[in-house]
Subunit: 115 residues, 2 copies
DNA sequence: CCTGTATTCAACCTAATAGTTATCAACCAA
DNA sequence: TTGGTTGATAACTATTAGGTTGAATACAGG
C-alpha cells in the first residue's frame, strides 16, 4: 500500500475483519482473544490484523498482567472524513437541496416557512 | 480484497493515484489520457486503476468517437460515509457530549430540560 | 520452578496487486 | 485503405497481503 497516511488508513479499513474489530472496540476495550472470538482464524492472523490497525494509529495497546487490551483510537478517521467531505455534494443531491432550502429560509426569515 | 461492497470501495480508495483520478473527475469528466497526464505510469496501468474504480461503481464510462470519457459516480461514497458516521462520536468530543446531552434530555422527558 | 494462559514472532505458502511491454481494436481523417 | 490517435487486453514479473503452523515470550498462581 502507498506511503501516505490516508492511503494506509483506508487500506486498513478495507477489510471486514479489521472493521469488525474496530466495531467491537467501539463498545469498549478488549483483549486479543476477545477480539478474535468471532472469527474462524488463528490468533496469529488476528494479531497481524491488529498490527495493521495499530500501524495507522486506529488502535492502541495497553498492558494488564498477561493481557494486552486494545483501545480504539478514532483520530485517523478524521482524515478519512475530511477527504470524504469534499465529495459529499456529489452523492447527496437532496442534502444539497435541503442545504439550499435552509439557506433560502434563513434569508427569508422564520416567518416565511413554506406550509 | 474481501467480497463485500464497502471493503471493495475502501480498497479502491486506498490508493493515491486512484484518489487523484477521482479528484480530477470531481472537476469534470475526463478522458483516460487526461487522467493519466499527471502520473509517471503507463496508460495500461492507468486503465487498470480505472477498472478498479469502475468495478466499485465510482466511475462510469461514456463514449465519444475514440474517447471513453470517464464520469465520477460518488454514490458508493455514501456507504463509506455511513460507516464512518458511526465513529464520529469517538473523534468529535463535543458532538459526543451533545449526544449524551440529548440522551439525557430524552430520558428525562421533554418537560425536564436543564435550566 | 512449573504450568497454564495470553500473545507475539518467524518461516512458509498462495493469491492478488501493481506495474511493465507488446499486441489488438475502434475510430477519425486524409 | 492507410495512418495516427485513443484506449483495452494479454502475458509476464516482483512485491505484498493474509493466512497457516510451530516455537518463543510474558505473566500469574500454586
Amino acid at each position: 500500500m502507498a506511503g501516505d497516511r490516508l492511503s494506509a488508513t483506508l487500506f486498513a479499513l478495507a477489510d471486514p475483519t479489521r472493521r469488525g474489530m474496530l466495531a467491537r472496540l467501539a463498545q469498549g476495550d478488549a483483549t486479543v482473544s476477545e477480539l478474535a472470538e468471532p472469527y474462524d482464524m488463528s490468533l496469529a492472523a488476528i494479531s497481524k490484523h491488529l498490527k495493521v490497525l495499530e500501524g495507522v494509529g486506529l488502535v492502541s495497546r495497553g498492558r494488564e498482567a498477561q493481557w494486552r487490551p486494545r483501545h480504539l483510537e478514532a483520530e485517523p478517521l478524521k482524515d478519512v472524513w475530511a477527504w470524504l467531505d469534499d465529495y459529499r455534494r456529489f452523492w447527496d443531491r437532496s442534502l444539497d437541496m435541503l442545504g439550499r432550502h435552509l439557506e433560502t429560509m434563513k434569508q427569508a426569515g422564520p416567518e416565511n416557512s413554506d406550509r
